[in-house]
Amino acid sequence: MTAERVLMKGNEALAEAAIRAGCKCYFGYPITPQTEIAAFMAKNMPKRGGTFLQAESEIAAINMVLGAASAGVRVMTSSSSPGISLKSEGISYIAASDLPCVIINVQRGGPGLGGIQPAQSDYWQAVKSGGHGDFHILVFAPNSVQEMADMVVKAFEKADQYRIPAMILSDGMLGQMMEPVVFPEISDKMPEKPWATNGHGNKRKHNIINTLFLQPDELEASVNARSKKYETIVENEQDAEFYLTDDADIVVTGYGAASRICREAVDEARKNGIKAGLLRPKVLWPFPVKDYQKIVPTAKSILCVELSTGQMIDDVKLAVNCSVPVEFYGRTGGNLPSAEEIIKKLAEINDSLS
């Protein structure tokens, strides 16, 4: 069977790919701009042997995810920024329970109710503070409709592999825009989950999903064991895309929607004789430190572009050990920077280098 190219919205492509990846349950609560994901799931899950359930709140939805993940099925929820804040409690519990699940954040402007236009101001929340306690979740950063589909499949696989929540950190632009997409071939073989609380059937000892450890040594052992797992993930799951970075004096870096504008700016800057390149992280946790290290010997400057006042820039500086100066350009409130704005910034940096 030849793979079919179809024109779809990012949110819908993601939802379709999730069903193909074996997502059996979807729990969500209405919020813009992730709306199409829930609508697609409501329409398609019942027809394809899955469960769609609109929860009474984001808090209930993420706890339904906890239940379904405990039962051993592939499960997903989606929301946008303020809704993700409400899910934080549940995300902490799911991470502490070592349960796999997929969480979609189609980011909008914040803080507070903010706006409904695209933003990237939930970076810190996604990679550093998704809830209380010592934990991480996998964070994928698509920048096209194709990657919305591809990465949700990978998110399910990696979540199961490591027993960890995985987030797709998207934004209103990627969710709403239409592009051609080819759905990846997906194995229908699901991994065994001998730890699941799905009824022991008198064949094994009872399984327990638990996050409570009142003895300090037991809690420390639990946290440390998870920390060892994170070390493996940091070693194996870093991922980034390089574009014209080999001879670049200035490496622009940005993820998601911002990276698309950065790429256009790099092309235009090259035409103006500015040796610019692009390093695009495809995974935000674990942050692709190894990829940033590769540009340290050649890059004279790094320009970090975000739809925020500067969040990922902290990780960029750490990734290069501050051995290369890191400049910043950002827009917020749902505004997108134009390529011209970035080119202007690149020209300023270029002038300062000579």
Partner: protein, 252 residues
């Protein structure tokens, strides 16, 4: 020699952390007796959220999940929607079910979620040392109502069975007590009915069990049972608030 009384198979052979005189042990035992009698230990998933029963995962031999505070009905929904043929019960206290988890409780009922809730109402937050619960009686002294619950300032107790009986998705809402052998038998029948309703896929069932907390009430176990009878039952009357199977039976 025949054995006439023993620990249920689905009850773990361990000491519990519950205080002397606490009625949690009785209710745990009733659930386990029913699980044994129905032969469903291997098909049952129990969910215990934050509260005194948070460590109940060590006391039941079926698969167990410890849930966030108040969220057990949502977690149970996730399990049940994934495994519709398994038995799913939650075991929640009054603070958990009637304060922080009110939305989860009412909406699980509204969806007619085919789960069973065992609701322990002892009019206090036991685990955290006896603060005012949503079910604390008017005038009752707790750590956070040191002058007695003043309903003008702290509001009135919440009567969950009465509220849930108004919800269309509720199949069974019954309030029982475990203060005497007779009431314990009634409680057991109610819990059994709740599990049967789940087996028959008839919807949401809740059994509220009026319970004691001698430690935080500052009373002996015997005094606590006396208080339950004299103060709690008059405010929270025992009885069946809704039972769709009774209606069906009467129509037969």
């Amino acid at each position: 020699m025949s054995v006439v009384f023993r620990k249920p198979d689905s009850m773990a052979d361990v000491n519990t952390h519950y205080c002397p005189g606490c009625t949690h042990g009785i209710v745990h035992r009733l659930i386990c007796e029913i699980i044994d009698e129905m032969g469903i230990e291997g098909d049952t998933i129990g969910i215990c959220p934050v509260g005194c029963s948070v460590m109940a995962y060590d006391y039941f031999n079926c698969d167990m999940i410890e849930a966030p505070h108040g969220r057990a009905p949502a977690v149970a929904t996730g399990v049940k929607r994934s495994l519709p043929d398994k038995f799913v019960f939650t075991y929640q206290g009054d603070g958990d079910l009637a304060a922080i988890g009110t939305a989860e409780t009412i909406h699980a009922a509204a969806r007619g979620e085919n789960i069973t809730i065992i609701f322990i109402n002892n009019t206090t937050y036991g685990m955290t040392g006896g603060q005012m619960a949503p079910t604390t009686l008017p005038g009752q002294v707790t750590q956070t109502t040191p002058y007695g619950r003043d309903v003008e300032k702290a509001g009135y107790p919440v009567k969950m069975c009465e509220i849930l009986a108004q919800v269309d998705g509720t199949a069974l809402a019954q309030r029982v007590s475990v203060d005497s052998p007779k009431e314990v038998q009634i409680a057991k029948k109610a819990i059994r009915k709740a599990f049967q309703i789940q087996r028959d896929k008839k919807g949401f069932s809740i059994v509220e069990v009026l319970s004691t907390c001698p430690t935080n009430w500052g009373m002996s176990p015997v005094e606590s049972l006396e208080r339950l009878r004299k103060e709690c039952i008059p405010y929270f009357p025992l009885g069946v608030y809704k039972d769709i199977t009774a209606k069906e039976n009467s129509n037969d």
